[in-house]
């Protein structure tokens, strides 16, 4: 391959050489090169294969709009697919691969698809693959058989399986003015706002700020534009109140002027710097925004327009001026407007020859003729390119006279040798962010482009974004925008003089040349002009139908080059104007955004862990920790070799036999304080709390407004106006919000403060026949006997020097006490209790034993208070006070909530003495092969050491009436079937003699 690097020029650092590989072959380039420019410089013309037809493709653009040259970048085993080569900065050791080809880029078997041509036109898959109506392939089978192969043929790059080890971060920023785009307009806007004292962020998606100034070849203020831009950037750097963000794509414009920008911090580095993120996601809350995002050039649609070597004119100019790379030695130009002439001039200055200019316009201005003369190029006005030649690189073009009226070419065809074709179909302002912000673009007939409308949010536009395609105009608009967002403040700059190539950006209204052959509109997705017409023929004529039916604009480039040409073809087919056909509403993101950068610090750390004060003790003492919501709780403290069941049975036996202790710090705890606290609790709970004496606790039940059970727990009256409410672990947050809502919105007259004190207290529940003895041996400052500490009583004392609060209540059914102390002392008190319990064989127990003991007692938890059950379903009807209204009291007696066939809580005993599983169903008659007739399901189950049986709690239709009846457990998922007896949910010590002592 021949080098296409120019001898001089460009903004690359020719003194340094970078080595990288593409498809396993080694290449070199220079700092400042993109992968695309470096490969082009090395003579590479073939970059990728298209999606459907696997056609060979080169580079069409020099930027974020690239549809063709997609590669996969590898860092070790970590793969990043679908990166435009135009957006990859090369670095030493860069490894890139082409995609969507097998076995190789040059010889791709998928290219056979081209033979199928018209058979696989737009939407073909809707019309076939339905398969036979009868036989083994009926239903969906035939389609799924075909789909298997279609899926493998489709898709672009391959994702890897190696976990990505890079860091991704989020950053919140606030500014008065966010300027998007750092071309001349953006630079001037930023400068003006900065001068006015505003906090400014200037974001630029390219590595170097300056935008078109870096490659326009113009002179601004008597110096080369790039130097002018560099000077402007240096000036901006002087301001403390300005942040410059190169390599940063602003991709989302959300409500409240919140914009999101992806900064590629590390991609251009050989190695990511230690602890530095690869990508940083900026969430920017901007007072106002200046959109100076420029414009994107459009290709023309003609047969063979996808041949490698066909390139946008502006891209060719950029490769020449910015990278010192020539897209060809002998190039042709095909255009509908003047700007391509300037590109040809730039190429001439860089050393390429333009042999031919094909212009669809019947006539062109004297200025353009002069340029053609200067180029020594043949100028064919009123002509069009109707074919291109070459395999994996362009070798020539065919031109024919063009009839503007019909959009077709006819007459004498000529073949002309060229190894590059520069095309220009005019320019589309990059209005994506404005569209995201909710504005509907407006069509401009002169520019043949959608322009941004009046802002609906706090943004203003400047430069080519506004359709102002000259640099002088852009600079003036940038200054004006900067002043506008500064509230008219700031000084007005004297705009510098701009020396540029003459030319009118207004194109002829021609985007397609109708001739035989595949003319591509959406290059990546292989959507042709004929596909658009087929969509029209089949009635898919609205913009959205066109997109969805043909997949036009749905590729990784999101239609940046194809949108307007596609609309133009549809408009012509309909005989309507482009704005009558409509436009697409752009949505985030403007360009692809790494998932890692959106997950940011949560990548690898989805949710924080909540740890109890005794967490480390549990872990050190062999607890298997169990993730319960965000909390970590001991499941069992297993001995070596024990199964889970063996461990919890041992823990349960030890507790019921002598004493056990469990960490209950995760229970929600809410301080309810104030003169109206008791009144408030009366309204919140179904039962009465105003009658609760100080120093006592009471079990309470809350309903939702709709009368369904919500949460339960004990609430302790610590003082006349001071309550400590406990909630279930899972519902702590919801209960808190529930209370706050009522206090703020419904009963603002109540003087009550609610504060989460869950984390203030460490809680240990110690229970069992010897629990009191253990406490007696360790608690000082208060007796804990039955008189001082009756059931539901509360005392204050000390354990080993730490103040504690002890409430005698029981979840396990044993004589039990909840010992609360300041969280920082939790482990100290826990250890003191363990020490004191040693003579009694005190065991720590986990959630499994806790669950076992509560099942034996028939106590309910979230498994039964599941948001569908009522108090009565759970046999808690006795708690519904008739003396007062409470939340839910008005709604709880509706017909649906008192129906006799509701699911009610019962106990279940396995009669075959085999384990039961949570989630098994209960049936009256067993049908293993064809399970049906479920009357309810198990909510919790265990082996009950106290009963010596496998038992469960269940919610069964009309449950209570079934006590004493036989039924069957039916668990087809786990193939567990067998007889059970339906019993009361109070399995163990129903009179509560053990806990009352």
């Amino acid at each position: 391959m021949t080098s296409r690097r120019t001898e001089t020029g460009g903004r690359i650092d020719r003194f340094r050489t970078i080595r990288f590989t593409f498809d396993g072959a080694s290449y070199t380039g220079h700092p400042g090169d993109t992968l695309a420019s470096a490969l082009l410089a090395s003579g590479v013309s073939l970059f990728g294969r298209s999606f459907k037809y696997h056609r060979p493709r080169g580079v069409l653009t020099a930027g974020v709009d690239e549809p063709n040259a997609l590669v996969t970048v590898l860092r070790g085993d970590v793969r990043e697919p679908n990166v435009p080569a135009t957006m990859v900065e090369i670095h030493d050791g860069l490894v890139a691969e082409s995609q969507n080809r097998f076995p190789s880029l040059s010889w791709d078997i998928g290219a056979l698809n081209q033979l199928a041509g018209k058979l696989i036109s737009a939407g073909f898959y809707y019309k076939t693959f339905m398969g036979p109506v009868i036989g083994p392939l009926q239903g969906t089978r035939f389609w799924m058989f075909c789909e298997h192969f279609i899926r493998r043929a489709a898709g672009l790059g391959r994702a890897g399986k190696a976990p990505d080890t890079a860091r991704y971060e989020n950053m919140n920023a606030f500014c008065d003015v966010l300027v998007v785009g750092s071309g001349p307009a953006g630079l001037m806007a930023a400068r003006t706002a900065a001068e006015a004292g505003k906090r400014v962020i200037l974001a630029e998606l390219d590595p170097v700020l300056g935008g078109s100034a870096n490659w326009s070849g113009e002179t601004i203020g008597e110096v080369p534009a790039a130097d002018w831009a560099a000077e402007a950037i240096r000036d901006l750097q002087e301001f403390d109140s300005v942040r410059l963000l190169p390599r940063t794509t602003v991709w989302g414009y959300y409500d409240g002027n919140s914009l999101v920008a992806l900064e590629r911090v590390g991609d251009h580095k050989e190695r990511f710097a230690t602890d530095e993120p690869r990508h940083r996601q900026w969430t920017i809350r901007a007072g106002s925004v200046v959109l100076a995002t420029g414009a994107l050039e459009r290709p023309l649609v003609f047969p063979g327009n996808d041949r490698p070597g066909v390139m946008l004119a502006s891209a060719a100019k950029r490769y020449a001026n910015e990278f010192g790379v020539l897209p060809g030695d002998k190039v042709a130009v095909f255009t509908n407007n003047d700007t391509a002439y300037g590109a040809a001039l730039a190429l001439k200055n860089a050393g390429a020859r333009t042999v031919l200019i094909v212009d669809v316009r019947a006539d062109v201005s004297a200025d353009m003729r002069a340029i053609a003369n200067e180029l020594e190029a043949e100028l064919l006005t009123g002509h069009a390119v109707v074919a291109t030649e070459g395999g994996k690189a362009l070798s020539g073009v065919t031109v024919q006279p063009f009839q503007a009226a019909t959009g077709t070419a006819s007459g004498e065809a000529r073949n002309i040798h060229a190894d590059g074709l520069l095309v220009s179909g005019g320019w589309s302002p990059a209005i994506h962010l404005a569209s995201q912000a909710g504005a509907r673009p407006e069509w401009d007939d002169g520019l043949q482009a959608f322009l941004p409308p009046q802002p609906t949010r706090k943004w203003t536009g400047a430069g080519a974004f506004n359709g102002a395609f000259s640099t002088a105009e852009s600079i003036a608009q940038g200054v004006a925008a900067g002043m506008a967002v500064s509230g008219g403040g700031g000084q007005r700059f004297e705009p510098p003089a701009v020396v540029t190539v003459a030319g009118d950006p207004k194109p002829a209204p021609v985007l397609e040349i109708r001739a035989d052959g595949k003319s591509f509109v959406d290059f990546q997705h292989d959507v042709t002009a004929d596909d658009v017409r087929l969509a029209h023929r089949e009635g898919f004529v609205s913009v959205e139908h066109l997109k969805r039916y043909t997949t036009l604009g749905m590729a990784t480039d999101q239609g940046k080059t194809s949108n307007v040409p596609g609309l133009a073809i549809m408009a012509a087919a309909l005989g309507k104007s482009i704005p009558e056909v409509g436009t697409t509403r752009f949505r985030p993101p403007f360009a692809g955004v790494s998932l890692g950068s959106l997950a940011a610090e949560r990548f690898g750390d989805l949710r924080p862990e909540r740890l109890t004060p005794m967490h480390d003790w549990h872990v050190e003492h062999g607890a298997t920790m169990y993730s319960a919501g965000l909390w970590h709780r001991p499941q069992i403290y297993g001995d070596p070799g024990e199964t889970i069941e063996q461990a919890y049975v041992r823990e349960t036996r030890a507790t019921r036999g002598s004493a056990g202790i469990v960490d209950v710090s995760t229970l929600g705890k809410i301080a309810v304080q104030g003169p109206d606290a008791a009144e408030f609790l009366d309204r919140v709970y179904t039962n009465m709390f105003s009658t609760l004496p100080v120093g006592k606790a009471r079990y309470g039940l809350m309903l939702r407004e709709d009368g369904i059970a919500f949460d339960d727990g004990t609430t302790w009256r610590l003082g006349e106006r001071d309550f400590l409410m406990t909630t279930t672990t899972a519902n702590a947050g919801k209960v808190m919000q529930h209370l706050e809502y009522f206090l703020d919105v419904i009963w603002p007259d109540l003087k009550v403060a609610v504060t989460s004190v869950t984390d203030q207290w460490a809680g240990a529940a110690i229970g069992g026949p010897n629990a009191r003895k253990i406490l007696q041996s360790v608690v000082t400052g208060t007796p804990v006997d039955d008189t001082a500490l009756p059931f539901m009583g509360i005392v204050h004392g000390e354990i080993d020097g730490v103040p504690v609060m002890i409430c005698r209540l029981s979840f396990s059914g044993e004589m039990a006490f909840e010992v609360y102390c300041g969280a920082d002392w939790g482990t100290h008190v826990w250890e003191a209790l363990m020490q004191a319990g040693k003579p009694y064989g005190l065991v720590p127990y986990g959630l499994e034993a806790l669950g076992t003991m509560r099942i034996e007692k028939g106590h309910v938890t979230g498994a039964e208070i599941d948001g569908r059950t009522t108090a009565r379903d759970l046999h808690l009807g006795w708690m519904l006070s008739k003396k007062k209204p409470f939340i839910g009291s008005a709604m709880m007696d509706r017909e649906g909530l008192i129906a006799s066939d509701r699911l009610q809580l019962v106990g279940i005993v396995a009669l075959d003495n085999r384990p039961l599983s949570g989630g098994a169903h209960i049936v009256e008659e067993l049908h293993e092969g064809n399970p049906h007739g479920s009357i309810g399901y198990l909510t919790a189950c265990c082996y009950s050491p106290s009963l010596g049986k496998y038992i469960a709690l269940a919610l069964l239709e009309g449950g209570k009436a079934r006590h004493g009846k036989r039924a069957f457990v039916s668990d087809p998922l786990r193939k567990r079937f067998g007889p059970v007896e339906i019993v009361s949910h109070h399995f163990f010590d129903p009179e509560g003699t053990r806990m009352h002592g």
Binding site: P81, N82, K118, S121, Y125, Y126, K127, T128, M130, W143, M144, E147, G155, L156, G157, R158, A159, K161, P163, D164, G252, Y254, D255, D530, E538, S542, E544, H545, R587, P589, G592, S594, L595, G596, L598, A599, A600, R602, F603, G604, L606, R607, S627, A628, R704, D866, G867, G918, G919, A920, H921, P931, H932, G933, Y937, L938, D971, P972, L973, R974
Partner: protein, 419 residues
């Protein structure tokens, strides 16, 4: 109109694809119909289709404000499943599943229903039991369901992190093998073509601006294209229910409209052959035939008709995605969009006669509308044609909220954003 087939494709390819005809006509609306269906989305179109096919009611117009399928039928994440806990839901969605299984043939339109399975991941033994309860509920209703072990899941989805080292390790999962995905737009287009072939008028760009009434009775509609009378007016405009019902003077319903965002990555070679949901949050993902990972999570959580969401949900969904697929951090989000969901007060839909005489209402689909498309139309057509609900939608009444006969899968009560 010509049948679609491989042969037809070949024939047309040979003639340059010049002979294909519009998939449905673009008729001018007539002055009167037997039935007007407001809403040219999936449910409206399927309703019209089944009115014609099952009940012989063909003098039907479907009125669509914008382009056909412009609402949620073209904005969802395409999952089709019937893995519900509560029998009224299980039965209804299973009927839908059965219709899905023959839909491409029925419509002579490939809706690409791909029964690749839906797998709900469980992240604790308790959650696995919870899923087992649902799976067993399905099995007792004759619906397919299986529990998968971690090893089985790991084999099925090698790209997923099933190690114990993660914040929320996978303990197993509930699989419905017959569930899967379908090509959402094709469903709308297939039903439209099917209804059109049976004589239904599908009128696009026809916005209903008011209702014609005779006393309480609804007798037709006023539209941007004139007055149209009808014996029966059916409303199937999920996402816009509040707006349309307000035109009939009903401004309070047990519904809030919320925006739900959906996302798709760039095209990848196949990495995910099934639909997966994450159990420690709200996240679901599948890979389209084109190769993009299609996924979503929670609704944004506030009333909206804007079809655009905000950033917090975007970030939450991506974080959940990477919790399952840590190797995909470098893969890029390509597109996002928003749809407007009718969030009902118990998370289940409404298909009913009324609430006014001459009117029929189909709404409240929450997240679940797409997979319901066939059964919703099937049941709604029955309800319209017979003036009484089909047994499958008998429970989906409007008055069930007031009566307390709720169908609350998630047990969240009247907090729509949590369903």
């Amino acid at each position: 109109m010509a049948e679609y087939s491989a042969l037809a494709l070949l024939k047309n390819a040979l003639t340059g694809n010049k002979d294909w005809k519009p998939a449905w006509r673009k008729p001018e609306p007539k002055a009167a119909y037997d039935v007007i269906v407001i809403g040219g989305g999936g449910h409206g179109l399927s309703t019209a289709y089944y009115l014609a096919k099952e009940h012989g009611v063909t003098n039907v117009a479907v009125l669509e404000k914008g382009y056909l399928g412009s609402g949620n039928v073209g904005r969802n994440t395409t999952a089709v499943r019937s893995n519900y806990l509560l029998p009224p839901n299980t039965r209804f969605y299973e009927h839908s599943m059965k219709l899905w299984e023959n839909l491409s043939h029925d419509l002579n339109y490939n809706v690409m229903f791909s029964q690749r399975g839906v797998l709900n991941l469980a992240h604790s033994p308790a959650q696995l039991d919870d899923y087992a309860r649902r799976g067993n509920s399905m099995r007792h209703q004759g619906v397919d369901a299986e529990l998968l072990s971690v090893a089985e899941i790991s084999r099925l989805i090698p790209v997923m992190d099933t190690s114990k080292a993660t914040r929320f390790p996978v303990y197993g999962g509930l699989m419905q093998p017959r569930a899967g995905t379908a090509r959402h737009d094709a469903v709308a287009w297939g039903y439209a073509r099917g209804a059109d072939r049976r004589g239904v008028d599908i009128v696009e760009n026809c916005e209903v601006t008011g209702f014609l009434r005779d006393g309480d009775r609804i007798t037709g509609v006023t539209t941007s294209r004139g007055e149209i009378r009808a014996k029966k007016v059916a409303v199937a405009v999920a996402g816009s229910t509040g707006r349309v019902m307000q035109l009939a003077g009903i401004d309070r319903l047990p519904i809030e409209s919320h925006v739900l965002q959906a996302f798709v990555t760039e095209s990848l070679k196949p990495v995910l052959d099934t639909v997966v949901t994450f159990g420690m949050g709200h996240f679901y993902v599948s890979q389209s035939d084109k190769g993009g990972l299609v996924y979503g999570g929670d609704i944004d959580g506030y009333n909206s008709y804007a079809q655009r969401g905000n950033l917090p949900i975007v970030q939450e969904v991506m974080a959940e995605m990477l919790a399952l697929f840590p190797s995909l951090a470098g893969v890029r989000l390509l597109r996002s969009w928003g749809g407007v969901c009718d969030m009902s007060m118990d998370g289940s839909p409404i298909i009913t006669t009324g609430p006014l005489p001459g009117m029929y209402l189909n709404c409240g689909w929450c997240y679940g509308g797409f997979k319901a498309t066939p059964a919703s139309g099937f049941c709604f057509a029955h309800t319209i044609a017979r003036d009484e609900p089909h047994e499958l939608n008998a429970a989906f009444t409007l008055d069930r909220f007031h009566r307390g006969i709720l169908i609350d899968e998630k047990g969240q009560g009247a907090t729509p954003r949590l369903h």
